[in-house]
């Protein structure tokens, strides 16, 4: 029995991590129509800031804050300097953000060095859950993901700012004639998505490896989840759970490689079914 519980908890914690990463990517994809290949690098910046904050003795919550702020600042700078000109065409957004990710990785390598960083686990050890010893930190992650999604969804659907953001996403020209400065709003939304990536980076740091090109490991799964979720932020959660379930179960029962290929096949089927990405006119 406890194998099943362990499996469920594993799936939930994997889904929690994946959905937090996919949340930032989904926001830029769904609300701003751009594909942000530098999303992983904002995670890395968050993780680095948290590690350096920890190194100078700051407690974990301040480290978390440092990570989020660092990623937000870099995100805002990136938006003002390059991303602002990418909204017009999706293909430019791919190339522009790809260049941005090179600059961020190489920039960190040249300044902070290339080695692995030690990121300590703020909640070490395990506790009894339904009779199964399960790492505390992963339970914290599940909680954090749930709270984060609640906040974002509430903000988008229940606050005036959220309404304005969705309005600009739906029809930028009309929103502009109603007095909404779409360029300023885009800056806010992109900075927020970078901050979310930073937060994800801080949360993932203790589980994995903090190094300049750590972003690449997570981007693949986040991408698949955003594709499967289509054009809705809410559907990121079921999509994350689906991908984690397939990956965990297949790895456990069949073979890790088959699991990875299975997730890709799901993404291809969804893309074929979807026929066109959200908000894009086909001919």
């Amino acid at each position: 029995m406890d194998v099943v519980i362990n499996e469920v908890l594993s799936i939930l914690s994997s889904a929690a991590i994946a959905s937090v990463i996919a949340l930032g990517l989904g926001i830029t994809f769904r609300l701003m129509g751009i594909i942000n290949l530098a999303h992983g690098e904002f995670m890395m910046i968050g993780a680095y800031a948290a590690v350096y904050a920890g190194a100078i003795g700051l407690p974990w919550p301040l480290g978390l804050l440092a990570g989020v702020l660092a990623a937000a600042v870099v995100g805002a700078l990136a938006e003002v300097l390059i991303v602002r000109w990418l909204y017009s065409s999706p293909e430019l957004s791919i190339l522009g953000t790809y260049g941005l990710s090179i600059v961020l990785i190489q920039g960190v390598q040249v300044t902070l060095g290339k080695g692995y960083l030690y990121s300590s686990n703020p909640f070490p050890g395990a506790i009894e859950v339904f009779g199964v010893a399960y790492p505390i930190y992963r339970l914290v992650l599940i909680g954090a993901a749930a709270v984060l999604f609640l906040i974002i969804l509430l903000l988008l659907n229940a606050t005036p700012l959220g309404t304005k953001i969705r309005a600009v996403a739906a029809d930028g020209k009309l929103a502009e004639t109603l007095g909404i400065r779409s360029s300023r709003l885009n800056l806010v939304v992109f900075t927020a998505s970078a901050a979310l990536a930073g937060l994800a980076g801080v949360l993932v740091g203790p589980l994995g490896n903090v190094r300049p090109d750590m972003g690449a490991d997570y981007i693949f799964t986040a991408f698949v989840i955003v594709i499967i979720a289509g054009n809705s932020i809410v559907r990121l959660i079921p999509a994350a759970i689906l991908v984690s379930t397939v990956q965990n179960l297949m790895t456990f029962w069949i073979d890790p490689m088959v699991a990875k290929i299975a997730v890709l096949v799901i993404a291809l089927l969804v893309l074929q079914g979807l026929r066109r990405t959200p908000g894009e006119v086909t001919v």
């Binding site: 190339l95 260049g99 190489q106 026929r275 001919v283």
Partner: protein, 583 residues
């Protein structure tokens, strides 16, 4: 253009004068340059962005490697053949799935992105064929039996193949097929209505470029004698995308030279500033995306002497005027008849049992307040939208249920409201595509020469619009009125029995509208097509209309000569809101 090609052929010769090391690099980087040019042909010319080029390159390299290592050195020729067939086949399947009717630019790019990720994993895992992480090594060079080329000779052959491929692509881009690709990129719907098979064009260019990339991948493997998963992964694929973009995707030479230049710079300089090199490349790339999204190549083309850049001249001749058709058929002249035409969008009924009849040479004007269904009638008759019910024929030729290009081929042609001609092409090229569209399958465009015959009525419109002297001018440089004239001429380029005109005078000045009116009357009199005009400009309607039909809420409100309709009270009410006042 010839001089440029001879200059390119200089590149392979370099292999003879430099050390074995550098000739090897020339060979490799020429192949990568040609791969970038192929991607530019698909992405910049046909508007199809994809990551499949890296899969094709990898499949080619692996197939040459596997066959050469398992069937002996000469196995590599079979490997090259398999490379081309395999990549072409996989590209065909992907094309059928993704480039069909509801092609979406972003979705297709994402699909091929995911395919690359999958294949990179499989290459590492599928050790039996791909040699896994270590890949395949000691792949033999080109040659027969024991006679194998040396490093530099092998590179010479590769560089020559690459240059010839680029020259071939440049030739292909000036053929009607290449020009039609650019038209499909700019105005897919319009080209479709001319009868150009848009999906087939896209699939053919995707398969062609992928198969060629597969060949290049195979040749590349004979030069490096090695292939491994990390060499054909996503990083490799994205760097080709980067070179193509920097070199500018709307040219072929740009990406070719950009790929070679950047690679040489990378090997030459990277030792001394190893840490900073990638950072510099990243910054340069971001700056280019921001300030010069169309890449360096476009500058290169602009400073090239214009004589080298001129689009091919189109020889346009007037067809001999045919005997008037209606006299030919005994008894009643064939009429264009529309019966019980009904169209509904979901629950909202837009047209209800509309009936029309127009005899050859007669001009019928459709008018009514907007939202009355005028454009819907034209869309239904030209099969741009599906009808709920209704039949329409000219003489005994039925049109309902046929696809748009078959209708165009059977003599029912249409001019759209907003001129959607291919602005990147010259006037002559646009006309040529209008003439060939309904007649030829796209393969015929490959060896078609640039000379066409257009109907006298179309020639008359060109003269009226002053376009007969501007056949080699880019359509982008025409005024709004001239674009409308060109669109009209394209609709009349082939013989047509029924002509549908959707607001031909929209956006025209008074003078242009007046000349258009006299032209329509003249064409109706000479070529005697049955003409239906949807228009708001009352002066135009007054001068051209033999009969007027007033539509309201999807039904025929009134019919008759212009004077009768003008006097009809119900029409005034429909046009001017609630109470109509007399006088």
């Amino acid at each position: 253009m010839r001089r440029l090609h001879w200059l390119l052929l200089l590149l392979p010769l370099l292999c003879l004068f430099v050390s074995n090391y550098y000739s090897g690099l020339v060979g490799q980087y020429a192949i990568l340059g040609a791969t970038a040019a192929l991607l530019a042909f698909s992405w910049g010319y046909a508007g199809v962005l994809h990551f499949f080029h890296v899969v094709a390159f990898g499949l080619g390299a692996y197939s040459v490697g596997w066959f050469a290592l398992n069937l002996g050195p000469d196995g590599l020729w079979l490997g090259l053949l398999v490379a081309v067939l395999l990549t072409g086949g996989v590209a065909f399947l992907l094309g059928i799935a993704g480039l069909g009717k509801n092609y979406s630019f972003m979705t297709f790019a994402l699909v091929t992105f995911v395919v690359v990720l999958a294949l990179e994993q499989i290459a590492v895992q599928f050790t039996a064929v791909t040699g896994g992480f270590n890949g395949l090594s000691n792949i033999p060079r080109l040659g027969f039996g024991d006679w194998r080329l040396s490093g530099s000779m092998n590179a010479l052959v590769l560089a020559t193949v690459a240059v010839l491929l680029v020259i071939g692509l440049r030739w292909l881009s000036t053929t009607p097929y290449g020009v039609a690709l650019r038209a499909v990129r700019d105005a897919p719907r319009r080209m479709g209505s001319f009868g150009v098979d848009v999906p087939a064009m896209r699939i053919s260019v995707f398969v062609l470029t992928s198969a060629a990339t597969g060949l290049l991948g195979g040749l590349f493997a004979t030069q490096t004698q090695f292939v491994s998963p990390s060499d054909i992964g996503l990083a490799f694929g994205t760097s080709i995308l980067v070179w193509t973009m920097l070199g500018s995707k709307t040219t072929l030479l740009g990406p070719f030279l950009a790929a070679i230049g950047i690679n040489f710079a990378t090997t030459g300089l990277s030792e001394s500033l190893v840490d900073y090199w990638l950072l510099i490349m990243g910054v340069v790339f971001v700056v280019v995306v921001r300030f010069l999204p169309e890449g360096f190549g476009v500058w290169l083309v602009r400073i090239l002497p214009s004589r080298w850049r001129r689009a091919p001249h189109v020889e346009v001749r007037r067809a001999a005027p045919e005997a008037p058709r209606d006299a030919a058929v005994g008894g009643a002249a064939p009429e264009f008849v529309v019966e019980q035409l009904s169209v509904a969008y979901g629950s909202n009924r837009v047209l209800q049992d509309v009936g029309l009849h127009v005899s050859p040479g007669e001009v019928l004007c459709l008018i009514g307040p907007n939202g009355a269904g005028k454009s819907t009638v034209l869309n239904a008759l030209s099969a741009v939208i599906r009808v709920e019910s209704g039949r329409w024929r000219f003489g005994d030729r039925q049109f309902q249920g046929r696809s748009p290009w078959r209708i165009a081929r059977d003599g029912l042609s249409r001019k759209y409201q907003h001129p959607s001609i291919a602005t990147d092409l010259t006037v002559g090229q646009n006309l040529a595509l209008a003439v060939w569209g309904p007649r030829y399958r796209f393969r015929r465009l490959l060896w078609q020469r640039w000379e066409i015959e257009i109907e006298p009525s179309a020639w008359r419109i060109l003269e009226a619009g002053g376009l007969d002297a501007r056949l080699d001018q880019l359509a982008a440089e025409l005024s709004h009125g001239q674009r409308q004239m060109l669109e009209l001429a394209m609709a009349l380029a082939n013989p047509c029995d029924v002509l549908l005109l959707d607001e031909p005078a929209a956006g025209m000045t008074k003078v242009e509208a007046a000349t258009l009116a006299s032209l329509i009357t003249e064409i109706a009199r000479d070529a005697r097509p049955a003409v239906i005009v949807v228009e708001h400009d009352l002066e135009l309607i007054r001068t051209v209309a033999d009969r007027v039909v007033v539509l309201q809420n999807g039904g025929v409100l009134a019919e008759g000569t212009y004077a009768e309709v003008e006097a009809d009270v119900r029409v005034q009410e429909a046009y001017l809101g609630t109470e109509a006042q007399h006088g």
